[in-house]
């Protein structure tokens, strides 16, 4: 563990491997006797393969490496749990954006009942690698391409199809020396706040689009001299970007100047930052993940350095997400093939003992309620507080055996979905059990 800055938070971290059964895979396959066997636990494994019911659409969607996974947002006030997610693929001759449904976990029958429960709803060919994917609203999803193109896909739930509804070709591009011709630059990140869409790219450019406008509303050329890796909204007209020399920049679209309003940076080593997420309730608390697998927590109100640096993965951290409704929980995934759950809510033994009693559902409920109460009571975020006696981050590794990179993850309610270079998608619906 490394700490920078004057107040040194001493965080006790417990790295434990979650019991295999707590996140078991559901696989159906023929055994050597020719029988169909199922292995399942609390989680659900969705192998990236077509199922019987939809082999026709699957025929055009072969196996591929998953670059992004995103839950479709739920309608406001909905009591449902997440059931539809989108994936994007990369590094194939043909890449796709696909929609999947995990269906109802409740009605599985004893014999092959799982087949219909994780299914590919539809797919559409995507030109170039899918570099980022974000839902604009429930029907529209924005894809960033390695060709520099930004596309809005429309999902028609009635006939389960995807279509491109709007496209900004060459949103990101390079201008070669001395020649007027330009070549495309990969668009590396996108963030949406309907109707606004902000994109960043390897060309160091920031674009602000509106879903109903053909042209970019605002473009900041040469916003960054190095590659911009990710972007997120801080407060509505303000955005945060991270780049490949370890800087975090805040931009305000209200200002006409094409300069960042604030630059925060890791000292010394200029370790590239790959991902960024903002605390859902406390907008000054920001988490970033770096090339060395380090998790940094920043307070953008004060200082230009991170509040704490936590040694995490052994290789690039590709994504970091605060839990949207339970922000004491944080999730990270990495090139080293691991997926971690960081829990900053466990601040006393009496509380954790409460969670381990009772049935799974009631446990989850009590957990949620107590955490929300916690958020309301304390104004100081558990990610920033520096009391060594009180604070303790518990880390759980969620995937049992690591192989290839976990490129993306998304959390919504009790559900988590992640995608890997081993061409598999993992889904769990009982994160807090």
């Amino acid at each position: 563990m490394y700490c920078l800055g004057v107040p040194i938070p001493i965080l006790q971290m417990v790295l434990q491997h979650k019991d295999w059964h707590a996140f078991a895979l559901v696989q159906s396959r023929l055994d050597e006797e020719g029988r169909r066997i199922f292995a399942f636990g609390a989680g659900l494994f969705v192998p990236a393969l077509p199922t019987e019911e939809n082999w026709l659409s699957a025929a055009t969607v072969p196996h591929k490496k998953i670059s992004k996974t995103r839950w479709r947002p739920l309608p406001p006030g909905s009591l449902q749990t997440a059931e539809t997610f989108a994936t994007g693929s990369w590094d194939n001759e043909e890449n796709y954006v696909s929609m999947w449904s995990i269906g109802d976990f409740g009605n599985l029958d004893s014999d092959g009942g799982f087949e219909g429960d994780h299914q590919l709803l539809c797919s559409i060919k995507h030109h170039g690698d899918v570099m980022d994917l974000q839902f604009l609203d429930q029907e529209r999803i924005v894809a960033a391409s390695s060709t520099g193109c930004v596309t809005i896909f429309l999902h028609h739930p009635n006939n389960q199809t995807l279509s491109a509804s709007q496209q900004w070709t060459a949103a990101h591009y390079h201008t070669g020396p001395g020649s007027p011709s330009c070549s495309n630059a990969p668009c590396t990140g996108v963030v949406c706040n309907n109707p606004e869409i902000v994109t960043v790219g390897e060309d160091g450019r920031i674009n602000l689009f509106r879903a109903d406008h053909k042209e970019a509303v605002r473009t900041i050329d040469n916003a960054d001299s190095s590659t911009l890796h990710a972007v997120t909204f801080l407060r509505t007209p303000e955005i945060l970007t991270v780049n490949s020399i370890g800087q975090l920049k805040i931009w305000d679209f209200r200002q006409q100047r094409n300069e960042p309003t604030q630059i925060l940076s890791l000292t010394g080593d200029r370790v590239p930052l790959h991902c960024v997420d903002r605390h859902p309730n406390q907008q000054h608390v920001v988490a970033t993940g770096g090339q060395d697998g380090m998790l940094s927590i920043w307070d953008v109100r004060q200082g230009t350095m991170p509040v704490s640096l936590l040694k995490a993965h052994e290789a690039e951290m590709w994504e970091v997400h605060f839990h949207p409704s339970n922000p004491d929980h944080l999730f990270t995934c990495s090139e080293d093939g691991s997926l971690w759950h960081w829990d900053a809510s466990t601040d006393g033994p009496e509380k954790s003992s409460l969670f381990h009693q009772g049935g799974r559902n009631s446990t989850f409920l009590s957990h949620t309620i107590s955490n929300q109460a916690n958020v309301h009571q304390s104004l100081i975020s558990s990610w920033l507080s520096t009391d060594p006696a009180k604070d303790r981050i518990e880390i759980t590794s969620l995937l049992p055996n690591r192989t290839l990179s976990v490129n993306s993850l998304d959390v919504l309610g009790p559900c988590l979905v992640c995608g890997t270079d081993a061409e598999a998608i993992y889904v769990t619906r009982q994160l807090f059990s």
């Binding site: 396959r29 023929l30 055994d31 050597e32 006797e33 020719g34 192998p47 393969l49 019987e52 082999w55 026709l56 025929a59 072969p62 196996h63 591929k64 490496k65 990369w90 590094d91 194939n92 001759e93 690698d129 570099m131 390695s146 390079h174 201008t175 070669g176 020396p177 070549s183 630059a185 990969p186 590396t188 390897e202 060309d203 160091g204 040469n222 960054d224 001299s225 190095s226 590659t227 490949s244 020399i245 800087q247 920049k249 940076s265 000292t267 010394g268 080593d269 200029r270 090339q291 290789a315 690039e316 090139e335 055996n401 192989t403 290839l404 990179s405 270079d421 081993a422 061409e423 598999a424």
Partner: protein, 611 residues
């Protein structure tokens, strides 16, 4: 050299008439380039329109099958797990683990087969559908061979249980080929035998079993000779079958789908306690009897026969020739190697068979646009040539985005492949320069610790500064930190920018001494001195004295060094004359400013000392 194991297969290149034209080729990793040449010895080549294409010839075509990607991905996980099996484990637990690994491999083959079958059925009338069904039969044969190898080499079943395993083996594979024979098996291996096998259980020894079976067998024979069933030919025939009579069994040849089905049936009724070492005798005679000289054995028959003969190397050799992929032999050989069955065998090429086959398979993966990540782990587990092979392959992966490049770099950095890291970073830096992304280019050359390239990029920055009068990419240059020491030019760039920052912050004294030290320490390139001296002008013209007398002398010396070292040109053209004119004026102004500053500083220093 060993001799060829068979006629090499001929691949026809479409569009090239090999009778009339010549072809040239070049090797690549896992691939070959072939094109037509117009090389002609006798006369000038007649310009007959030839084949205008360059063809890429791939060896391992199955790597490109979209459905088999599941096989490659999942077996990769099993392979990595197998390499981690602890060496200390001995005896039963180790064997149990190896058998489990083998079953996992087979389970993946079956899963692919099932998926492929669905595609084949759904598309059965088209050419693609037919292609799928032929793939299904190849996968099915692969699983059949693997299963037999598992029973004979990994499980090493002793006499007695051996037949049980073989029964399961035939039942599993015959069932899926033909549902009719499944019924036949179900009825022809009647419940009698189920209870027969239940009888011995674990309490009986093999000899006891043999004795009791012998007894039952004699009883059957007696019934037959007594003509107990003579009235009913069906019953009589059934009795003959129970006695394992070859002729009686062969009468129902149509119910036995193939010779190994016949073999196991025969063994069941005549030799239930067959010893592993005797298997090949029965296998050979079953094959001969079943084919009856009508047809010759096919590759699959040869492979199975080699397995029954316990000739592992022959099995692997025949499979390598017969199958269109390296997946099967590579994984099977690796597993058998972990069973310590292959140690004695060395090849006259490569290092040993396991490594050779794994690396062949890995090169196929590297040639694939998407599966290259899997190949890395295979190379890692080849101690002799794996590293070299990985080094050669990894540099050739096309880097489309920085994200992909980072993944490749991570592979290299984890293995301390510094040479490859340098070369990849250099490629990226070059690309960035071409795209006018100097900041990115500098970042990449810093990561590669490539001093020469950092100098080149720094020069570009300085040139841009001279042209535009302002710096670009300040966010990077201001945050160079220790990386600044990579090359002199980069140090100069960083320091020169620092001078501008100090000047901007009105720290004139610090700025002045920094400026002077850039020239006196020789960090600044000569070509840039005039710019630096010009930068000194506003400092010389400030109200208060900034450069001390000593510093002014130094500046003067720099100016004289620069002007005296200027070479004389022969015939200057108009442009040069004009340039020289400007230069001369600059020098004049500088000299004047320096002289004035010297005067002021001498007075100031003198008056200070005087007071």
């Amino acid at each position: 050299m060993e001799e060829f194991d068979g006629e090499p297969t001929v691949t026809w290149i479409p569009g090239v008439n090999s009778q009339k034209k010549q072809m040239c080729f070049d090797w690549g990793p896992g691939e070959m380039l072939v094109c037509e040449t117009s090389f002609n010895k006798k006369e000038k080549s007649e310009m007959v329109a030839g084949c205008p294409f360059i063809h890429i010839i791939r060896k391992d075509i199955d790597v490109y099958s979209k459905i088999l990607r599941k096989l490659f991905n999942e077996s990769h996980g099993i392979f990595v797990g197998l390499q981690r099996i602890e060496e200390e484990l001995t005896g039963k637990s180790r064997k149990a683990q190896l058998v489990r690994v083998s079953k996992n491999y087979r389970s993946v083959i079956r899963a692919c087969m099932e998926e492929m079958h669905q595609f084949a059925v759904a598309d059965k009338d088209s050419a693609i559908g037919r292609q799928f069904s032929s793939q299904v039969s190849i996968l099915s044969a692969m699983e059949l061979i693997w299963n037999l190898c598992e029973i004979l080499f990994i499980e090493v079943a002793p006499a007695g249980p051996l037949l049980l395993y073989l029964l399961d083996w035939v039942r599993l594979h015959v069932c899926e080929v033909d549902s009719l024979s499944a019924d036949v098996l179900g009825s022809e291996n009647p419940s009698k035998h189920e209870s027969f096998w239940n009888l011995p259980g674990n309490t009986q020894t093999l000899t006891e079993l043999e004795l009791r079976w012998q007894h039952w067998h004699e009883e059957c024979e007696r019934h037959l000779q007594d003509g107990t069933f003579a009235s009913n030919p069906h019953l009589e025939s059934l009795c003959k079958v129970l006695l394992g009579d070859d002729a009686a069994l062969l009468e129902h040849k149509e119910l036995l789908s193939n010779w190994y089905h016949f073999l196991v049936t025969r063994l069941l009724y005549s030799q239930p306690t067959v010893k592993p070492m005797d298997l090949h005798l029965y296998a050979q005679s079953s094959l001969d009897l079943f084919l009856g000289g009508e047809s010759s054995p096919e590759p699959l028959d040869n492979i199975l026969m080699a397995a029954f003969e316990f000739d592992i190397h022959q099995v692997i050799k025949e499979c390598s020739i017969a199958l269109s992929n390296w997946w099967f032999v590579a994984h099977l050989t690796d597993l058998l190697d972990h069973c310590k069955l292959l140690q004695s065998h060395n090849l006259y090429f490569g290092s040993n068979m396991r490594e050779f086959l794994l690396l062949e398979y890995a090169s196929g993966l590297f040639a694939h646009h998407s599966l290259w990540q899997l190949g890395v782990d295979y190379c890692d587990h080849c101690p002799e040539l794996g590293r070299v092979s990985l080094e050669l392959h990894i540099e050739r992966i096309p880097l489309t985005t920085e994200q992909k490049a980072l993944k490749v770099l991570r592979v290299c950095e984890q293995r301390q492949m510094t040479e490859q890291v340098r070369s990849i970073c250099k490629v990226l830096a070059m690309k960035a320069v071409r795209n006018n992304r100097l900041g990115s280019a500098l970042s990449w050359s810093i990561r590669a610790k490539d001093a020469a390239f950092a100098t080149l990029v720094s020069d570009r920055f300085l040139r841009d500064y001279c042209e535009r009068g302002c710096f670009s990419d300040l966010d990077l240059i201001d945050n160079l930190g220790p990386a600044m020491m990579l090359s002199d030019r980069l140090t100069f760039l960083g320091k020169y920018r620092e001078f501008h920052r100090l000047y901007g912050e009105k720290c004139f004294v610090d700025a002045a001494s920094l400026l002077l030290s850039l020239m006196t320490s020789q960090i600044a390139p000569r070509s840039f001195w005039m710019t630096l001296l010009t930068d000194a002008l506003p400092l010389l013209e400030q109200k208060q004295v900034i450069f001390s007398a000593e510093q002014t002398y130094e500046l003067l010396r720099c100016l004289e060094d620069l002007t005296s070292g200027r070479p004389l040109c022969g015939e200057p053209d108009a442009q040069q004359l004009q340039d020289d004119d400007i230069e001369t004026t600059k020098v004049e102004i500088l000299r004047l400013a320096l002289a004035r500053n010297l005067a002021r500083s001498v007075i100031k220093e003198g008056s200070l000392e005087g007071s």
